[in-house]
Amino acid sequence: MLSQDPQFRKIKIKARGVGGSATYWLGPDHLLIVTQDGYNERYRRIYYRDIQAVVIRRTSTWIWITVVLIGILIVMGLLPLTSGDVFGLWFGGINLGIWTTFLILHLVGGPSCSCRLVTAVQNRDLPHINHWKQASRLVDELQAEVNRVQRKPAAATTPSAPETAAPAATPATS
């Protein structure tokens, strides 16, 4: 298991999305992206020496979801409360509590974004990185490792390899 491998460190971000999730691991010389969708687990390895840039782009999804949640909150929570009867009070109160919780959780998550990793040969969107906070944390953690590798003297570096899809840890480590 990667969590027991001292060469790997997990980046502590919640990368979840529709139909799957992803975990990001900092290896000795590469970033390992493990995506889980259904009953499959896929591995993608990107070497630090090949990473040229990471671009985080703010998206409007966060605003639209906020608008929708406020709309639901008003229709399902506040309007029944104004009806005055007992059923309306109960129905509205419960819905108000549920949808306010959803709204608060959504607001705490922060603005949405997409995160793109740039190498010499491709631009790759990082899977399930949907919030600016997560992406910023990923960049902060990645930056130290990439700079450590890329700022080495040229003689110490090896020629650039194509991006390969593979876990660094062998099955023997699990």
Partner: protein, 192 residues
């Protein structure tokens, strides 16, 4: 700055050349999308020279397995064939010919090339839970879960945080469900 080709992911407009290695938060000049850009030294390096395919050989020199007119630069770590620079697929911990690289990626027998694993433990757990919900099928679905779990018991588990313990627990529950289901249907059959 030669070769720098960063562009806005939203409108594909080229980002300004004044990017530094320090991360910056700015807006795209074209679409005003807010961006955070972290650049690394590799962005500012010149592109590496392409591998030469014109290496001539002299008599008595080792040649590439696939190209008799080219000098061998290395050998495949998997099959041992001599390879020229053009045929060499270099990975951080070795050199492979294109056939072994492809076979390794497809079969997953070289850990470096493994792309995916199937989480059989999750499948068995799902079958155990479904058989609880559709209890009238209980002898069949747990039996399928037991067969699958035992057949794939030695398959490599997930790399991230799931151990074989999960599969063993699911198998235990599947056995209990199978026994319970069989007992239920035997009781029905006897009473009928």
């Amino acid at each position: 700055m030669a070769g720098v080709a960063l562009e806005c992911p939203s409108c594909r407009t080229a980002l300004p050349d004044g990017l530094d290695v320090a991360p910056t938060v700015e807006r795209c000049a074209s679409c005003s999308t807010r961006l955070r850009i972290a650049t690394f030294p590799a962005l500012f390096l010149a592109a590496p020279e392409a591998k030469s395919n014109a290496t001539a050989i002299e008599s008595g020199e080792a040649t590439c397995f696939h190209h008799e007119q080219k000098r061998a630069a290395t050998s495949c770590d998997a099959c041992g064939k001599f390879l020229c620079q053009l045929c060499d697929v270099e990975v951080p911990h070795g050199h492979f010919c294109t056939q072994c690289f492809e076979a390794g990626a497809r079969q997953g027998n070289i850990p470096e090339f493994e792309r995916a694993r199937t989480r059989y433990d999750s499948i068995v757990v799902a079958m155990v839970i479904i058989s609880l919900l559709f209890w009238f099928l209980s002898p069949l679905l747990p039996l399928a879960a037991i067969i699958l779990g035992l057949a794939k018991r030695k398959a490599p588990p997930s790399l991230v945080g799931r151990s074989r313990l999960r599969l063993n627990i699911a198998l235990t529950f599947a056995v209990l469900e199978f026994i319970g289901g069989c007992a239920f249907w035997i009781a029905i059959w006897v009473s009928a």
